[in-house]
Symmetry: C2
Subunit: 205 residues, 2 copies
């Protein structure tokens, strides 16, 4: 029997998968990859440990799935907002503000995102190659804006890839402080601080 083009089996699978993924996100966020146990994820999802292994091959695979999920959503949301912006200043602002907005709505995912990117830089990521891509897609978004800005004379001349990385990492760490220590401060202030810092630097005039 099928409903709306999906068999019962598919519906159940989808439901369980989502249920386990959500639990995993919470536990991984709280405990980190090593600290999280499959038992605790199963408990949080309200299923037995064995069930987790019916839907995900291994702990690592489960972790990756929850990471991929979140990063793809982030990328799409930010890319859409940037597409709406007209000039490079607005696009850069959208890049920053979009991230702050997304993670304000996805607090717990931020911990996973942050630690995994730190590890990526360090070469100790659980997900080296699978994840390098996701990083580069985002960096490309930013590099495009910077290159455009220089062509248009709106930005001074600098090495684009290096600077894109600086900005990218700057946003990530600013986000870390906002999300993890910001005590619910609304994102307008840090967004402005980051944008001003990037745009104007700290020098007078």
């Amino acid at each position: 029997m099928t409903v709306a083009g999906r068999t019962k089996k598919e519906v159940i699978q989808e439901f369980r998968t989502a249920e386990i993924l959500e639990a995993a996100r919470g536990v991984f966020a709280e405990k980190g990859f090593e600290g999280a146990t499959i038992d605790s994820i199963a408990l949080a999802a309200g299923v037995a440990k064995g069930t987790v292994y019916l839907y995900f091959e291994s702990k690592r695979e489960l972790f990756l799935a929850s990471l991929r999920d979140g990063v793809c959503a982030l990328h799409e949301e930010v890319a859409a907002q940037m597409a709406n912006a007209e000039n490079c200043e607005a696009k850069l602002h959208a890049f920053i503000a979009g991230r702050f907005l997304y993670f304000s709505r996805n607090h717990e995912f931020f911990r996973i995102y942050y630690t995994e990117f730190s590890r990526l830089i360090c070469g100790t990521a659980s997900a080296q190659p699978e994840f390098q891509d996701l990083y580069e897609r985002q960096a490309a978004l930013l590099e495009g804006v910077l290159a455009q800005g220089i062509r248009e004379g709106r930005l001074r001349e600098f090495e684009v890839p290096r600077t894109a990385r600086l900005i990218y990492d700057l946003i990530r760490t600013a986000l870390a402080h906002h999300i993890l220590h910001g005590g619910g401060e609304e994102p307008g202030k840090p967004v402005r601080a980051v944008f001003d810092f990037v745009w104007k630097g700290i020098g007078a005039q």
Copy 2:
């Protein structure tokens, strides 16, 4: 019997401590805290596992010791160089260049430093409270320069603590790329890139 005011016992203890610490630094750098095992550290140091526990209370304590060591040396070196600089621009430059120089000479320590600071931000540090201090001492160094610069009209007005953190983290991530992916590029270039970015921002003029 004593030689140069130190008993034989003290000499041996000092030697062993240094030997184990150095091995630990290498292994922690390569594998991270969880990935490193006391067995492998002992092997690298050329002693038995039990011996490690004669000189350090626990794995955690050993990790902390290797961390403290390096961070204190870094702090002193940078503080000294900043003291030599005259105006706030030179001091800021010394803060950046000093770090690049120190870690160019202490590659493997950087991995430990970097991951532990990332974790500190995340609240998953192995060394939360002991380490917060070290962070704050460094941040204070930077905040002092910024406050001075604003008073003197050399810097535009901004929130000092927030901006100090931005700069601090910016340097850390730039260092990460330089040390871990830079392929031995000499540090002059990234130092200039970071300094210019901080001082002038990316906007034209």
